[in-house]
Symmetry: D2
Subunit: 363 residues, 4 copies
């Protein structure tokens, strides 16, 4: 595989560069009979669209999704779902001066080393914009999961040194930061203003959760649910770390503290974050990711040109001081995509159905 | 795939339960012409073998590796390499009393939920012992990587609240903890003694590095090198978090601090940990993992039986107070396996590089 | 994988139903730096377009290909190539009367059994029209192969009981049948007229060849080149058999006749069809496929409705009396796609060859 | 993947050369709870073992199978099943004189071209002996399929110009040829004697069938059941063609003859061979394969040495005049393996279960 697909039974393949003609994808393996429309998907896309908030990129991205196949009379057919978003904001001129320089912190250098040249227009495949298709695929996965009683949600829980201390999920979709603690909004506002003024950026920590996941999803030994989550979350641009449950805090925990005991009512804690031995335990699946600060800043940085000569780079154009704000719907999407893939694989593997003798025709 | 294979061009498939007849694996995709012998592999296995240290499990595991195929006259043939370790330490009687209880923190509950029953003998596939085959596969990968100028190394950098403050890689293989700071060995000793006395366990943080990796390995968008590393490292039993480069520290970093600038001499820092935009940058690849404390402790814990009734569980038998100590060679192995897989995939994908001269050493 | 992708390093994923909004695909793994334009692909598509010949379906299919990504300044970038063909001929009304009946010989019954319902509009995913994307992907593969000195060609060699006795490849693209023996064209004409009059259809045999393939492509034991060719050719709608080299004739051959001997000038025969032990031998790769006669005929057939009651089915609308005529470019495309995938995999696997100088041209 | 694995959810990976230490494999994805023992597998292996018949190779191959994992208390656990056969007949000296020559019709030349050298001992991975593991995996698949009401059987239906005219499946396992027409046994005997005397070999045609396969298995568009069958059958050494249902006979059929009509009692014919539109139709799945005559014959053949100089090659040692005789159990095994993989994939894909709201815990 050339790296542009994810998943085995629920499989997402994307294509498109941020400043190319269009971005799109194929979502393969969606079970038939699920209600789906462009509106379902557009709702998720609009959550990530810049311009709805004064804190994110001002480039106007319409992101109107078209469903090209796989849906008939409002329901999925079980055949691949092709989706497309035509690129309406293509200001290549914003980027022409960087054609021969490597912007520090960007993938320019590594792309050139890999491919021998690079498409310099706005980050190409490593740009965050390609993720619109992930969000679309995630919206489809969420529709299927909803029918299984599984829901997914995410929030930003830390920006720079500002932490959410009071978790209120009702607040998350009420503010432009997807922040879980409404008491800190003014602090966030102020921080963003300072960053725009100084031309710098800041990192973020995001938390995603899945509720209603029954025990049993996951495939030891290598395709464990947590390993696949780590993979799909780390595949999000700018992510530098993934934690399940208590994450790095487990380093200082004792076994007597960490283990999740059980009584007749069920589990008594969830340090494991809903995954035990690589399989879902029936508890909420909890993960956190760390997003690095955007490297597209106006503060000059030292770099080199293709010919190796030193230069100074300043990124123009309008960019995000905090990438993390936009990553919340993307992280939710990746969680949904990975969970659905595991649900389908779990169903394929397990012989409970063979116990009943008669295999239903359409089973 | 049923979850017991990892990698695409360099592919490792394992089988075997810790208390079954044997554990083994198939390593497929190793290029031909590489020097390989059982001694090469045994050397790596011996690093992880308990009994060489008074801190790890006293169960005597011989772990004698046999190579069954894929090697002829001391060199790999390019055909699959079958490896086998017959199980010599099979004390099922250590486990018979837990046949119908769920040990808290173990995968018993989730395995039962998934499969409808479980093989209660000693953890089965979720036991750390299965990882001997991973270490064997890693040893093979390291042989190939060595020929490409790539080396891999790992160390424990934190156990509980004891941190390595002075990194000395020469020390790592001189002590039983694989610890990077020899000044802290007495503290570690004391901590372990306390834990054995109290019957508890503690977590650990491990760091792995790869040197000599040229720029260009990795496949955006989903099979990024960092995403695949996250997957293979998270697939190690007891791992709850994976970080690349500065990991969670990036949350509080500014863009002006985080970005790795360049001048004519190359990169000036390595906050990215050697991976940028999903592709290796030519800098050392650096990752850290968090291992949870073992749940096999002698302090009683609350749990339930298969029939749902409450009970108390005490794990007998001899176990590790710190799993992290044994995980260092396993983490090195997973890093090596993933890097080799990416090297082979990178070579398959890129034809331009063979034409323009600017080919990195390892192409 | 949900079945809509083929290939490992050169990977093609398609989507779209014949009477949906659009058909399209993602071609992933095309090496960078290859010259490619919509014109290149359109040229191949036009060879299969009905309407250019009075022998094929009169439905007007424009089949105008759009490249949405993966190409920059006339060359491939190495990122996925998204392609799209908007459906301009959507006459659903041709099919409405068959909504609840199973057309004999069509996939209606099996689709319903599998999915619980079916999209009745014109065959959906099992229609031959979806293959336009395969032809597009094949055109891309052919561009890459051309740079490696490999060419692909196909011809119809039998229609019903009319056999090509004299092979003239120059003739193949000069007649609407892609037939290799121009002396039989009148017979073919007459046969088609008879079939249109009687409302029946006929089968065909197609031959595809690849020239310039060096020795060494193919991955024993399961992903042999011939096994993958059998897979990709059998995946073409209406194909019921695949033969490599002498095919079924080998059953009556002696070993002394069949084996391809060698002398200093090279091989002295090619009974093997260019594949030996699953690996290309350096000789032309030769395969033949059998296409069944179209089941969309106007002669009434006995069938049942969804509720099980018996009925008679007559297919209206305009259809092909011989599907084989259109399958030639599709078979060439599948051969090209599979060969390129194997070339990339071969390059990824073999490091010895880059060292010993004896590297075939196409390495 | 490096080519030594087949299947997606039911996945078989093999290793081992015919003259190496052992051959073995990993069968991953077998559902748990299936009765399995070494005896089950040995029964299938014994059917293919030479020495039980005076017509096949006299090399004594014990082929004693060991199950190393994945079975507990007589039932599969759902974890990978490792199997091993130690090689007891290793007469390398039979082959030493061919170390530097290419035996015509063998894979020697292609292996050398691919890998830069070859393991000359007896065919290595391209030898038919490696297929013992396929037969073992097939035996496991057959156990699972039996529980689903699916049975698999095969027979030789043609050897050279001797055809089975009367099909009697009861006869197939009563003679050493697996031949379906007992009236021709004397002719077969005589033919074999002549071939041994002349030192030559002959080809064969084998037929395999699966009964009880319900409608609905198969994944359009590329992973169609027939395409995957073509792949797995063509992966058998010496196979040069695969046909489904009427195979090449469809070329001369009319649509009115070929289509399988239906009435209230079901299908009225089975020209399709049980697969329609890539999905099983509920009718018996029928396939035939063509096996080329063995190239290991004592009649001298012209060839070249590694240095390109011409030479004559005579194969010594004892070999099969008709490989087809041994291929019957192998073809049955491949059919079973592919069917089971499709059954598991079909179950994973289909949402009938989502209709009932509540997903069972272990589902």
């Amino acid at each position: 595989m050339a790296g542009n697909s994810i998943g085995q039974l629920f499989r997402v393949t994307t294509f498109g560069e941020s400043h190319g003609v269009a971005i799109g994808g194929v979502i393969d393996g969606c079970p038939p009979g699920i209600e789906l429309s462009e509106a379902h998907i557009q709702a998720q896309l609009d959550r990530r669209r810049p311009g709805q908030s004064r804190y994110t990129t001002a480039r106007r991205e319409a992101d109107q999704i078209r469903i090209l196949s796989g849906v008939f009379e409002g329901k999925t057919t079980g055949t691949p779902i092709g989706v497309l978003i035509e690129n309406t904001d293509q200001r290549s001129r914003d980027y022409s001066d960087i054609q021969d320089t490597y912007r520090p912190g960007h993938a320019d250098y590594t792309y050139d080393a890999k491919y021998g040249f690079r498409d310099y227009r706005g980050g190409g495949r490593s740009s965050a914009r390609e993720t619109a298709i992930r969000v679309a695929a995630g919206a489809i996965a969420m529709q299927v999961l909803a029918g299984l009683g599984v829901s997914v949600r995410g929030a930003m829980v830390q920006m720079g040194d500002i932490n959410a201390e009071q978790f209120d999920w009702e607040q998350v979709n009420q503010n432009a930061f997807f922040f879980a603690d409404s008491r800190k909004l003014d602090l966030l506002d102020e921080s963003i203003r300072q960053l725009k003024k100084s031309g710098d950026s800041i990192g973020a920590r995001i938390r995603v959760e899945a509720h209603g996941v029954p025990a049993g999803w996951g495939e030891p030994v290598f395709d464990r649910l947590d390993a696949d989550l780590a993979h799909s979350l780390m595949s999000i641009n700018a992510v530098k770390a993934v934690a399940i449950g208590d994450g790095f805090a487990v380093v200082e925990q004792r076994g007597s503290e960490h283990r999740d005991e059980m009584d007749a009512s069920g589990f008594l804690s969830n340090h494991a974050g809903g995954v035990l031995g690589g399989i879902s335990s029936g508890q909420p699946v909890i993960a956190e990711i760390a997003l690095k600060p955007t490297s597209s800043i106006t503060i000059p940085g030292r770099s080199i040109r293709r010919d190796g000569s030193e230069c100074e780079v300043v990124t123009k154009g309008r960019h995000d001081p905090c990438v993390g704000i936009r990553a919340v719907p993307i992280a939710e999407a990746m969680l949904a995509i990975t969970l659905l893939d595991h649900y389908l694989r779990h169903r394929g593997q397990n012989s409970v159905l063979t116990a009943n003798g008669q295999v239903p025709t359409a089973e």
